[in-house]
């Protein structure tokens, strides 16, 4: 296969009486070496992770000290999402009523449909998503829900502290879900 020109000197005739030694070929078959080379290349390409960390930007609102400085949102356009422990998600639209009848439970998979449904029903300028992570939820949950905002192109959202009543409700519903698991 691979050949090297070893006939240096143009093949002089040896003088008489000089014994002709058996010439060993210096040709080496390089095919396996090429195989090995490409094998290593493929190995390096596949094991190299090209992933560079990406950055997600988050803009925080400035703390408004006076209530009149705070942003007002129309009640009909607000949806509040609460994050509980063990990836539980709860939501309600508008204001939480006294009997908590509009307090619904959801999951990270279903919340997208809930948000899209809300988005289709509400004029764009009224739509505000309020995110209330509870003490029990993880950083991943927060990033996931912020990501959900990006995925569904929801421009207006805010991270708000959870209230005591809501914490209670989240705890109660979690306990209820654990006692009687859905399905």
């Amino acid at each position: 296969m691979a050949e090297m020109d070893t006939s240096s000197g143009g093949g002089h005739k040896k003088g008489p009486g000089v014994k002709k030694s058996k010439k060993l070929s210096t040709r080496v078959d390089l095919t396996p070496m090429v195989d090995l080379g490409f094998l290593l290349i493929t190995f390096f390409i596949f094991t190299t992770t090209m992933s560079q960390p990406t950055a997600m930007k988050l803009y925080l609102p400035k703390d408004a000290d006076k209530p009149e400085d705070q942003n007002k949102a129309k009640q009909s356009g607000v949806i509040t999402i609460l994050l509980g422990k063990d990836d539980n998600v709860f939501y309600y639209e508008g204001i939480l009523d006294n009997t908590a009848s509009n307090f619904k439970s959801s999951t990270f998979k279903e919340i997208r449909n809930v948000l899209l449904d809300k988005k289709s029903r509400t004029p764009e300028k009224d739509l505000v998503v309020v995110l209330k992570p509870s003490e029990e939820c993880t950083y991943k949950n927060v990033v996931d829900i912020l990501d959900e905002m990006a995925i569904n192109v929801l421009k207006r959202y805010a991270l708000v502290d959870i209230t005591k009543d809501e914490t209670q409700l989240v705890k109660l519903s979690e306990a209820a879900n654990a006692a009687a698991p859905a399905k």
Binding site: D29, E135, V153
Partner: protein
Amino acid sequence: MGRAKLPRKSTNIDMTAMCDVAFLLLSFFILTTKFKPAEAIAVTTPSSVAAKVAETKDVVLITIDKDGKVFLSMDDESKKEVIANTLNTTKNLNLNVQAFKKAGFFGAPFSGLSAFLAIPEEARKGNSLPGIPSLDSTHNEIKEWMSLVLSAYAGQKANIQLKGDNASKYPAFKSVIDAFKKNDILKFQMITNPESVPTGTDLWKLGMKGEKRAE
């Protein structure tokens, strides 16, 4: 009359050139691969659809590990020197400025900072260190760190980044956000792993239309 004899061609191909190319590529890949430096603080970041690559210059990185401990790291040594000197004069911490400059990250309360700097660099591991106290709202040292950082950067742009572990709880994240807010840092970046946009969603449709995504 015989037919003209066709010269028989050899089917051997010279592999030397191909071999050269293969190994050239191999050495190129090996030499250009940058190894991920071993991290003292083990953090698995969540993934997001954000497409912007994280800045690598003038970075002030806050790391939250899985137990909610907070660490701070900076890449600019001159800024670290400024901070060390400020700390020495305002708090009388007697810090070793050189060690402070060389430290990859900080993860101790102010009171234990000189002891932290005395530990050799290789022995500083996230899980054995106390972290910067942040959970106590009256004594949130991250807040003081951030104001130190801001005064060291004095008007220059610092890229404030936050890297949290999947399993860390929200209160740790909230205390860091609070510290940011107190210092009027209202813009920061969260380090995540890239993830593809789910097909069929609104963002995906925007991407298909070729619109540029607002960051």
